[in-house]
């Protein structure tokens, strides 16, 4: 009760501070000289209030204060402390509070760190950011207040959905939000810069840091979500093209493109329109994602509650932001004199433009695949869901030229360039083609396409690998990221090409034998934990080469709420994952057993970490390549 009240009122105070900040900024916009410290302390105060409110919610969760509706709906006394805390942001209301926390944190740091920019620009960024913050304050307080009372107080809570009780998922939302919501500051600052017409190389090098930070967090956040899906959902995959995954991928694609564009702007003062549009669309896509998964318009694992009122609020807010940004873009943006035509065809700029168009293509594929079901539903009341084949068919063919462009592009120089060491480039291309032909030939399916695909990925792999040895670390961050990307594509390809699966029904004591593997269902154990009972099945699996693995998948029967989950047992080695999961078949004494061998799973995770590591290095590096 007590903490809920504090939390609630500090939210309201936070909203008031937004209004004060906007009032001050607008009033002193014309002659803004003295406000700097005042505004800094107000933004800090606002951040502080949201922190208090967030801490209050955490305390309510830890104390299992069921007079709070959010706690009641998402917690239970028997839940381990770690998940009581993690449960704070594992629900709609709490995660929106986290969203607000990140928004206020970023504007505070922005004011703390931005020193050499014009004060007008800072004030205007503040105003735009505060408009977003006010929107979310209202949204939180009006439609999804995390501090609603229940009276009389229930004795016990509803419990947290067991599939959310996972360490990866406990840190996934905060990390993802730092990227997802962090893009708001790019949005605000791009609008401010456009309005004041200061989109220049100075602005570019200032905002670049923010883009890199958001990008690194967004990449890691998506990775964590993917790891969670792999280990917890037990479907044996890491990416399902589920709407919720797509809505995190879309801002990532836009942000990645922006990251490349901003380099051109920094060097050459061109591509200003690209940069502004991408800055706007990154955040709009994040908002759009929030709308799609929170309104219940699409079904996904992130649909916490189907509440059309919430959906309507975000929808209206989203489109007002789009309108404002379009207005500012069309009326205040003056495109620079030197336009695209002045580019020499073979130069770094051209390759970045090519990269942009590819990225925009991928983005539109994902966007259409995600929102097409809504359009179809409205037009014809048909319910469809767009699955992996759609994305694979449309994306894979374009991945080939994209990978090759990615290999050659970074080797080019600014303005005008010749291709240097042609011999190497061609030699490596031939090596990649031969090598991939030999690899794919062993598994003779779809030879031509797979060979080309693998060889283009290998090509990028070799070129970036060679770069590590010849270039004297002048642009190591880019090279690491591109190397990571080639590794990612290779791992995904090999993972798809070489994985194998056995699905069968087994009783205890039975053995399944195929040409390559022997699965023995040895025994069954039971275990009782604080918040669930579990049935553990013990399998031993023997391969052709006589290696025996013991795997023990679990079925967990959670008590609050009463849900059965399958815990896959996964044995990870450097080269492949062995994955086994069991399911209950109703009214039968046998279990449904699914056994998969998935090569290079570990490398998918590692390569994504490598990609974000590349970004991290560029953040700490002072100067980009000369």
């Amino acid at each position: 009760m007590f903490y809920s009240s504090i939390g609630h009122y500090s939210l309201i105070l936070g909203l008031c501070i937004s209004l004060i900040l906007i009032y001050f900024s607008v009033k002193n916009f014309k002659n803004s000289t003295i406000l700097n410290t005042k505004i800094l302390s107000f933004t800090f105060l606002q951040f502080f209030l949201v922190v208090i409110s967030f801490i209050c919610l955490i305390i309510s969760f830890v104390l299992s204060d069921f007079s709070n509706e959010t706690v009641f709906n998402n917690s239970h006394t028997t839940k381990p402390l770690f998940y009581k805390i993690a449960g704070t942001w594992g629900n709609h209301e709490g995660s929106l509070l986290l969203w607000l926390l990140v928004l206020t944190l970023f504007i505070f740091i922005f004011f703390l760190k931005t020193k050499n920019q014009p004060l007008k620009y800072k004030l205007l960024t503040l105003i735009f950011q505060q408009i977003i913050i006010i929107g979310f304050f209202l949204f939180l307080i009006e439609t999804s207040n995390p501090f609603n009372y229940i009276y009389p107080m229930p004795e016990e809570g509803m419990g947290l959905n067991p599939i959310l009780q996972d360490p990866a998922l406990a840190i996934h939302p905060p990390i993802l939000y730092l990227g997802y919501v962090g893009s708001s500051i790019i949005f605000s600052s791009a609008l401010a810069a456009t309005y004041l017409n200061i989109v220049s190389n100075v602005w570019a090098s200032h905002i670049k840091k923010w883009i890199v930070v958001s990008w690194v967090f967004l990449t890691l956040g998506i990775l964590l979500g993917s790891i969670w899906a792999y280990y917890e959902l037990g479907w044996g995959g890491f990416w399902f093209w589920d709407p919720v995954e797509n809505v995190s991928l879309m801002p990532w694609l836009a942000l990645t493109t922006l990251l490349h564009c901003i380099l051109v702007l920094e060097k050459k003062q061109v591509l200003t329109s690209w940069v502004i549009i991408l800055s706007i669309s990154t955040f709009t896509l994040s908002m759009c994602g929030t709308f799609l998964v929170r309104s219940g318009i699409l079904n996904s694992v992130h649909t916490f509650a189907n509440d059309p009122e919430r959906g309507l609020f975000i929808l209206v807010f989203l489109f007002s932001l789009i309108c404002v940004s379009l207005f500012i873009f069309f009326f205040f943006h003056k495109s620079s004199q030197n336009n695209l035509n002045s580019f020499f065809w073979l130069s770094k700029e051209t390759s970045i433009i090519i990269n942009n168009w590819f990225m925009m293509y991928f983005l539109s594929v994902v966007l259409i695949g995600t929102i097409y079901p809504i359009f179809l539903d409205v037009l014809s009341s048909q319910k469809i869901s767009v699955g992996p084949p759609f994305y694979h068919k449309l994306i894979i063919p374009f991945l080939i030229p994209f990978l090759i462009a990615m290999a050659i592009g970074p080797k080019l120089k600014w303005i005008k360039s010749n291709i240097v060491d042609k011999v190497y480039l061609i030699l490596l291309l031939i090596i990649s083609i031969v090598l991939s032909f030999l690899i794919v030939k062993k598994f003779d399916f779809n030879l031509l396409l797979n060979t080309i695909l693998v060889s283009s990925a290998l090509y990028l792999f070799f070129i970036t690998l060679r770069e590590f040895f010849i270039k004297k670390y002048s642009n190591i961050s880019q090279n690491i990221a591109h190397f990571g990307f080639s590794l990612l594509i290779l791992s995904i390809l090999f993972n798809n090409l070489f994985s194998s699966e056995i699905i069968t029904n087994l009783k205890v004591g039975e053995t399944f034998t195929s040409s390559k593997t022997k699965i023995v269902f040895k025994s069954i154990n039971q275990k009782k934990e604080k918040n669930y009972k579990s049935i553990i099945a013990n399998f031993s699996i023997e391969n052709l080469d006589g290696i025996i693995d013991n795997l023990s998948p679990e079925l967990r029967i959670y008590n609050q709420p009463n849900i059965v989950t399958s815990e896959a047992d996964i044995k990870t080695t450097l080269l492949s994952d062995k994955f086994i999961v069991i399911n209950i078949v109703q009214n039968q004494d046998y279990f449904n057993v699914r056994y998969q061998v998935k090569p290079f799973m570990l490398w998918i995770w590692l390569s994504v970490i490598l990609i974000s590591f590349g970004g991290l290095i560029s953040f700490f590096k002072k100067e980009y390549e000369k």
């Binding site: 229940i150 009389p152 004795e155 016990e156 318009i297 929808l315 069309f330 809504i374 409205v378």
Partner: protein
């Protein structure tokens, strides 16, 4: 000229997208239950809450009184608010309130009733939520007003003072 067309074009695209999203929000109900008012009640079997005996639908609605079938659960927050009104309706002699306890645990449900009172003449313990499906319920809470085996009225969501007045006027 070209400069003016582009903003208009883009704005109109966004307006169209907005309209589609807005319309999409309106029909988010994925599954629309079949049961309509003025139909006969579905026949079903269920376990009684107190005795665990299996009972038939015909045994539950066998008098010429009005019946209010209320689907509830201890974990359902709106049910708490609605419960007070049910306690009030229970005083009416022409009406019997029957409960379906939806996807709940016995202990939680008993605590709930001990705390807020028990307005129900009989309760069916619907642990799997099967009975609620047979009734074509959207979720909890939901209520059906029944007379002579016919569903007269259906209330999706919690009852409020206005609706209880309506029920009382129908019973008169």
């Amino acid at each position: 000229m070209k400069n003016k067309l582009l903003p208009i074009f883009i704005t109109s695209i966004f307006i169209i997208v907005f309209i589609f999203f807005y319309r999409g929000l309106q029909n988010t109900n994925i599954y629309i239950p079949e049961i309509k008012i003025n139909n006969k009640i579905p026949s079903f079997k269920g376990n009684l809450f107190d005795s665990n005996e299996v009972t038939n639908s015909s045994n539950l609605f066998n008098t010429d009184k009005f019946y209010l079938l209320n689907i509830w659960s201890s974990w359902c927050v709106p049910c708490r608010k609605e419960h007070v009104l049910l306690m009030n309706l229970r005083k009416n002699k022409k009406l019997e309130v029957i409960g379906i306890n939806y996807k709940d645990t016995k202990i939680n449900a008993e605590n709930f009733l001990a705390e807020l009172g028990n307005p129900y003449k009989k309760i069916i313990f619907d642990k799997e939520g099967i009975n609620a499906i047979e009734w074509g319920a959207y979720g909890v809470p939901e209520s059906f007003l029944i007379k002579d085996g016919i569903i007269i009225k259906r209330y999706i969501g919690p009852l409020n003072k206005k609706l209880t007045k309506e029920i009382k006027s129908i019973i008169k």
